[in-house]
């Protein structure tokens, strides 16, 4: 069997049916015999789609990029997949190694290019490598912390003779309970004056949201969400939900001021911007999860769901946290209706899109997206890396697995990977897209006015373009919302992809200090 045959066979056996990619000459040899290829019109979009697909399914996905240019074009997305812990297997063709010495067109040392953005990288040397490298990459992508891996395939290997061996491979067992620590942590909680829990993305990834809800309600302890999570961390409508921690040291310290013990289940304290306060000085912090960062002292390696189940049987204590009753916001919505305010738009979206998975790249409005739309298991995704252009491809990737996906995106972010609309249209993906158009980079204006006043008025932070025409030209039905938002109805109807632009105010919210 030739190299490309082994490639195809291995991919099939691993259940990696689809290939997300954008091809070049160096990939043509390996793509012979490929049937389920999803074409994206920019390399990076493949990685973004695979990222969404993998996060939603919890399974590895396969990407094929065009050697140096394709991989280089996708670097930010590969890094994002790493931050999102998305098990994406990235493959690329590579120049024929028999003349690599001459550094031919398109050649580059790809392993050094992907560098630390992936968990594992390898360039195959012969046909035997193909099967074993793919199987190894598959397993590594899933081992905690899950994340992207990279394999490079020199062209000539694809035509060398080898054999498909049907090698054994394993996927990591994620059902690991660190039972020895349950007693200790439950005692810590029992002895605390005032404990708080932090919920992180691992609870959505490995399970445990329901269990944490039960534990928190049993003990009367508040649950904060980790700052800037890549996905849902908890059930935001729970009575024990205390809101989201802000991503800056002073603000985190203030939110957790009254608590002496902080137990973090599968989360991180992601920070930006810098503030001079040290993070949580003098607090006892315990982190429980499949990949604790070891940045804060006491860490317990365990599947969070299993650990929470065990804690539920042991933990004792009685505190009295209950979130404040929702006072409603009809007045705010009525005022915002006059100016097509973001809360008004999102409240309407909430009515039409309940039960949808939200993919959020609304940037200056992201906080409002989470507040208005709420979240629970697998219902919310965003990029943890701060990179723009991820949302639309990720939404497209998720929409291959379920037909209720709403992408909420800023007019700035939309433009980084606008070609995704072509892929959505070509493969009939059921993505609904809501664009919050504030004609510029509002979050950068807000940042400027907080830290570098004056810059917010710079011309380079504002722009506008005809979003509807651009979307139509790429094959997506598209409209601008009228003040009554009747089009929200239109957007929700049918399963075909549609895009709605809401022209929201250009006022700059205060998001930083």
């Amino acid at each position: 069997m030739k190299g490309y045959g082994i490639f195809n066979r291995t991919v099939k056996d691993l259940g990696l049916r689809r290939i997300f990619g954008n091809p070049g000459s160096t990939e043509i040899p390996m793509l012979r015999g490929t049937s389920d290829y999803v074409l994206t019109l920019h390399d990076s979009i493949s990685v973004g789609m695979a990222d969404g697909y993998s996060q939603y399914s919890g399974r590895p996905s396969l990407v094929n990029l065009h050697t140096l240019p394709g991989v280089a074009n996708s670097m930010a997305f590969i890094h994002t997949a790493r931050m999102n812990r998305a098990p994406v297997i990235i493959t690329s063709g590579q120049q024929d190694s028999r003349h690599a010495f001459y550094e031919p067109l398109l050649w580059h040392d790809l392993k050094s290019l992907v560098g630390s953005a992936v968990k594992y990288s390898y360039e195959v040397k012969n046909p035997e490598d193909i099967e074993r490298a793919l199987k190894r990459a598959y397993a590594i992508s899933l081992s905690p912390p899950s994340g992207p891996v990279f394999l490079s395939f020199p062209m000539e290997v694809m035509d060398q003779e080898g054999e498909y061996m049907g090698l054994d491979y394993s996927t990591p067992n994620l059902q690991i309970l660190n039972s020895g620590e349950v007693e200790r942590i439950s005692e810590l909680i029992g002895r605390a004056k005032n404990p708080a829990f932090v919920a992180g993305s691992e609870l959505d990834q490995y399970g445990g949201i329901r269990e944490l809800e039960e534990l928190a309600s049993h003990l009367g302890v508040p649950v904060f969400s980790e700052p800037l999570s890549s996905r849902a961390t908890f059930n935001s409508s729970s009575d024990n939900f205390a809101g989201e921690l802000p991503p800056a040291s002073t603000a985190i310290n203030m939110a957790l001021l009254q608590y002496d013990l902080i137990v973090n289940f599968g989360g991180e304290f992601t920070l930006y911007p810098y503030l001079p306060s040290p993070l949580l000085p003098g607090k006892k912090i315990v982190s429980v999860g499949m990949s604790p960062s070891y940045k804060h002292g006491d860490c317990v390696f365990s599947n969070p769901k299993l650990f929470l189940n065990a804690l539920l049987l042991k933990a004792n204590g009685k505190w009295s946290f209950r979130k404040q009753e929702d006072q409603g916001n009809a007045g705010l919505i009525a005022r915002e209706k006059k100016v097509m305010g973001v809360n008004y738009v999102l409240q309407r979206a909430r009515k039409h899109f309940s039960g949808y998975t939200i993919v959020d790249e609304a940037i200056s409005s992201s906080l409002l997206v989470r507040k208005n739309m709420g979240y629970s298991q697998k219902s919310y995704f965003t990029a943890r890396s701060g990179q723009l252009g991820w949302g639309l491809p990720a939404a497209a990737g998720i929409s291959m697995l379920r037909d209720k996906v709403l992408e909420i995106v800023g007019d700035g972010s939309l433009m980084y990977t606008i070609q995704t609309l072509w892929t959505i249209s070509k493969y009939n993906l059921p993505v609904k897209i809501l664009v919050l158009n504030n004609e510029g980079y509002t979050i950068l204006k807000s940042f400027s006015s907080s830290f570098y006043p004056g810059v917010e008025n710079s011309e380079f932070l504002s722009f506008s373009y005809n979003i509807v025409d651009v979307a139509k030209s790429l094959g997506i039905e598209s409209r601008v919302a009228d003040p009554e938002l009747k089009e929200m109805d239109w957007l929700a109807q049918g399963s075909e992809a549609k895009l709605l632009v809401a022209n929201v105010p250009k006022t700059v919210p205060r998001l930083f200090i």
Binding site: T250, M254, L275, P276, S277, L280, G282, Y452, P453, I513
Partner: protein, 303 residues
């Protein structure tokens, strides 16, 4: 420090913000090595204090007014000074609207009648909706007032030597009028100017003379921007209804004539003071000190 002041709680909070910071409740120390001084308007930041703080580089006043600071002494030593000018705009805006409504709805009169055992049958109360509301001074407070008035349906006009942009005018629903025109057209006038050489007693005989009979005049800015005799005259001769929060001397002489003329509503320089505005002063003060500590220019720098 008053006994109710929660010093230990404040210290606990402070230790989570900047562990090296400390709170001092009196200024009669010998020497202090601090680089940053945070004070309210009630602490005199004068030569005597500054000379005891040789490392001082930045003074943050946790309020709008900073007349307690000897700016010359700071300037001499190249010490930065900042205040917090925006934290009370909400409370002032609400106070102004409260006063205007109290006048329009004759609340004082009704209250006194009922307390005195009478039951008034007739009223000439009127609505804020549809009135022309003149704002003199379109800074942070003037703008917030205009924003709030939008929902009352007033016709809002403003005067400021520095006109705001067309876009801002459109968003706030206000139009510009020269001072004389504003005085002539408005049913209600509210002052939002700082006290400077130009504004010192700038509301005088001529200005009050231009105002409509029976119109409402509100001062939550500074007592000194109004010529009090001219105001009293206007109250007597034109039935101007006044709302006064600020006085040239505070507290004012209670036997003064201003307190004897009819239809005047008083408050004791509290338009900007609410529980919420004090909280904002604290938050903004902390933000500004953090900015300084991380090496950025603090906001609202006055020196």
């Amino acid at each position: 420090m008053p006994p109710f002041f929660p010093t230990s709680e404040v210290n606990a909070t402070l230790s989570q913000i900047l562990p090296e910071a400390e709170i001092t409740t009196s200024t009669d120390f010998e020497m202090n090595a601090s680089e940053v001084l945070v004070a309210t308007t009630f602490t005199k930041v004068d030569e005597a204090l500054i000379s005891k703080m040789p490392n001082l580089k930045f003074v943050q006043i946790a309020s709008t007014g900073y007349d307690n600071v000897d700016t010359d002494s700071l300037r001499k030593r190249n010490i930065k000074l900042a205040n917090i000018p925006t934290a009370n705009k909400e409370s002032v805006a609400e106070h102004v609207i409260t006063m205007a409504l109290a006048q329009l709805k004759n609340l004082l009169y009704f209250h006194n009648e009922i307390v005195n055992g009478n039951w008034p049958f007739l009223t000439n109360s009127s609505e804020l909706m549809g009135k022309t509301f003149g704002i003199i001074g379109m800074g942070a407070i003037g703008k917030r007032l205009a924003e709030r008035l939008l929902y009352f349906g007033t016709n809002t006009i403003y005067y400021d030597p520095a006109r705001i942009t067309d876009e801002e005018e459109e968003n706030l629903g206000v139009s510009y009028a020269p001072m004389d025109e504003l005085l002539r057209k408005s049913d209600i006038i509210s002052l939002h100017v700082p006290l400077t050489k130009e504004t010192d007693r700038f509301m005088g005989e001529k200005e009050f003379g231009l105002m409509k009979d029976g119109s409402i005049f509100i001062n939550t800015a500074r007592g000194e921007v109004v010529n009090e005799a001219a105001l009293i005259n206007a109250i007597k001769s034109k039935g101007i209804r006044a709302c006064i929060d600020v006085y040239a001397n505070e507290p004012p002489d209670p036997t003064g004539e201003l307190f004897k003329v009819p239809n005047v509503l008083f408050s004791p320089h509290v338009a900007g003071v609410t529980v919420e505005s004090q909280q904002r002063f604290i938050t903004d003060t902390i933000s500004n000190v953090l900015k300084y500590v991380q090496g950025l220019d603090p906001s609202y720098q006055v020196l």
